[in-house]
Symmetry: C3
Subunit: 347 residues, 3 copies
């Protein structure tokens, strides 16, 4: 497939600066690009590559002010990253093989399970009693769907995902390989010198358009549901404890842990390896920095937090800077004490 | 199933305050409850819900002093959480389907493997040479039991668990989906510019009544055994390195990492995302706060620790408070220096 | 099998101190050893055990200066740990069962897949279209190899590993159970109030002699490759994001997270639970302490870093010490202010 800069500009509704007939036949990162490549520049960190790239065409933000001459043809768009995403999607649709629509053997499908139209069931997949797999869903090999699990339309369950009984997965959901949905919440009562298990009789509900990363673990509720609301995106190796609620379109980076019964608002962003204690609420649009530990309810919308324990981002940065200066400050304090004593004694 | 407050009080040995004939037919969380529900109140954070609940019956601690009037019938017990756990267990026993006692096909059972009575072996489970599965054990689909693995009585191995050769799992153990038991310890010797693998010829021993969370990883010992002692409870995504020993009834929250050869005492509690360096001992009943990093041996029993590196909880909290005040303190120091210089010069 | 101290000394090119005819028939840790055992002492923390061990023979570094008398026969070598590794390897080669070279049934091997000589394919393994498994590779049960995956010679893929389409695994690689290779990178563009998925059309390349721990997740590149270079060693539960590059012979402890597009140099060592932000470079031979958070490019080779955010190890340790002293320093500052005011007023 070959396209001219002009053709691409039409697709992304952009303006060509340079040779409208420049030809591209592949997609690449700006730092690895060669003639015939189409790339994009969205992160200012990579701007230097723009001035030395051999790529034929580069998508850039229309706000970009060039610092030097550029040999590539530019296409100026409102959001270079979003436009590039659109092109990648178009590219993938044209190049990816047609999704499978067969039931491979051997697989285990209970007689009471219901499987929709145009579904793929990979070999060694297990569908328990009363499982429902809706139209166009793709269940990859070696997955386990416990009794009564429901999988929505167009949803993709990658290889080796394990979903315990009674959990409900919405439409257009993607769950990556190795994720575990619906394992028992971590609840014990201490009696007679030992921990007695609290039965976990709830489930997990994953709403539409959610993406769950590889090897995440989402525990079932003690009662009721652990809920991941529509449009939320979870990276890999994340722990969601029992009875947690993750809000709409909230984005969580990898290795985050959210403790039991906490409720995360809508449109929050949580950085990698952050932790949130149990039984608190986090307001909508909260931003939590990587490795932070949130120990208290966040009532106000749109705050940025950092640190462990986490608090206001700007104040925390100021303390971080002074922290590095601590040995010097300690010396100053001791010097001040000495000087003051001398002053007193000299009086 | 319907029960009166009086019937439930008898089961949990509690005292009814209110209408003894109040009827309940389901179980719910106090914040989500409606007429006909039985709930409990154990965590003071949720006390407000007690005064507005529509639940018919609420289990409360006998020490609770009411601040307002309550419309629900109360049952006062010594430990509301433990009593509720008992009720949940009773409820689950009456409502859960009878555990499976069949060998589903296709599964792979070596000719030398021994399978006890009333065992469930799910489809696509793999039992290597000389594997022993004792009576009443439940081996879910897609699990892997390597050569010589032993599974004790009543033990549940959920879907997709992988247990390497020679590991020994006790009675009444629960291992959640995706956990890996007995992978190689992380040991290399640096020679001639490259890392040479140290063979890991030991195993993992998991004693009776242990629970292991989803996607945990417990490495086999270099020699001897990595041991999880009786009654210990591990949450999800925990890393236990080679030759570690976790003590009896120790409770570990999710995403904790314990480095090689460390020995954790009995009845310890370790918060989420905490880390413990290798080759140290942690005394019995140590409490380690979430996200802490323990870098030194803890000899004294029953200490509470926090921070990275972790030390005494109370002292650490004091430093945390001053930390937030650092920018202000730095200003004060500079002001003091200035003022002192002025004093000196004015003399 | 029985060996004399003299025979072992010849194998490891060491010098016997004591009874050359001392017999050993098993291998043990120095703290657990009994007569007939061979142990080693490499970590000074364990030196006390040397003076009370009942082991018959102990490997020690030739630089060791004894503090007391030792009853065991010693073999002095240049590097006791490396020599012990060699012995363990020899022991394992003599005692481990011969690796399997069969294709167990049922397994799923696409008609277009190519399987080499002396390969083991475990039951319930899945080989997609055009998969290539080279000679002597061992593919354990319940693994998933997506379309076009290549597995090199002598490589071991343990049970339940999931490798997405198009990924390339080198020779002599070990991937432990439950690891996920090639899941989608975490990339979304925010448009019209929702996150739109950025297709991830790249792959993962794992070069020769790499070891990947249990339940690690290594995401495929958006474009191009996420690369783990030759000889790198990764512990368990590590997250490697899209387009990351891990350098040759770099060693990463468990639960580390490396964010998108970062490039880690050669011969680096990264401690457990550390995190590295996206789009930065880390110079060769950098040492990053456990739980650190690296937020900035590291240009100079061979630095040691600690803290979150991480900086120079020695400076950071100094700040850590003062941190514990903060409550006291704050008191001193308030006292100084008071004393200074008194001085001023008394003038």
């Amino acid at each position: 497939m070959k396209f001219t800069a002009q053709q691409i500009a039409m697709l992304v509704q952009g303006e060509v600066v340079g040779n409208e007939k420049a030809m591209v036949n592949s997609i690449a990162k700006i730092e690895d690009s060669k003639e015939g490549d189409l790339c994009f520049l969205a992160n200012a960190k990579y701007e230097d590559f723009l001035y030395k790239t051999n790529a034929s065409v580069v998508l850039v933000n229309d706000t970009l002010v060039l610092k030097k001459e550029v040999s590539a043809t530019l296409i100026r768009v409102k959001d270079a990253y979003a436009s590039f995403a659109l092109l990648l999607k178009t590219y993938e649709e044209h190049t990816a093989p047609k999704p499978k629509e067969i039931i491979e053997q051997p697989s285990f499908i209970s007689t009471t399970a219901k499987v929709g139209e145009k579904v793929y069931i990979g070999a060694f997949a297990y569908l328990g009693e009363n499982v429902v797999v809706a139209d166009n869903a793709k269940i990859y090999p070696n997955t386990y769907l416990g009794d009564n699990v429901k999988i929505g339309e167009n949803t993709i369950i990658y290889a080796g995902v394990k979903i315990y009984k009674d959990c409900v997965i919405g439409d257009n959901v993607i769950i990556h390989a190795g994720a575990v949905i619906g394992s028992d919440g971590f609840g014990f009562a201490f009696e007679n010198g030992a921990f007695q298990k609290i039965p976990q009789i709830g489930n997990v509900v994953i709403e539409n358009n959610v993406e769950i990363g590889a090897n995440c673990t989402i525990d079932r509720a003690t009662m009721g549901s652990t809920t991941i609301k529509a449009g939320a995106k979870l990276d890999n190796l994340i722990q969601i404890a029992h009875n947690v609620e993750v809000g709409n379109a909230t984005v969580i980076a990898s290795q985050v842990g959210i403790s039991g019964s906490s409720k995360i608002g809508n449109y929050c962003m949580i950085g990698g390896q952050a932790g949130i204690v149990g039984h608190i609420k986090i307001a909508d649009q909260t931003k939590i920095n990587a490795q932070s530990g949130v120990a208290k309810e966040i009532k106000e919308k749109g705050l940025s937090l950092t640190g462990s324990p986490a608090y206001d981002y700007k104040s925390s940065l100021k303390s971080q800077i002074v922290y590095r200066n601590l040995p010097d400050l300690q010396k100053k304090i001791y010097a001040l004490e000495k000087a003051l004593n001398e002053l007193k004694n000299n009086k």
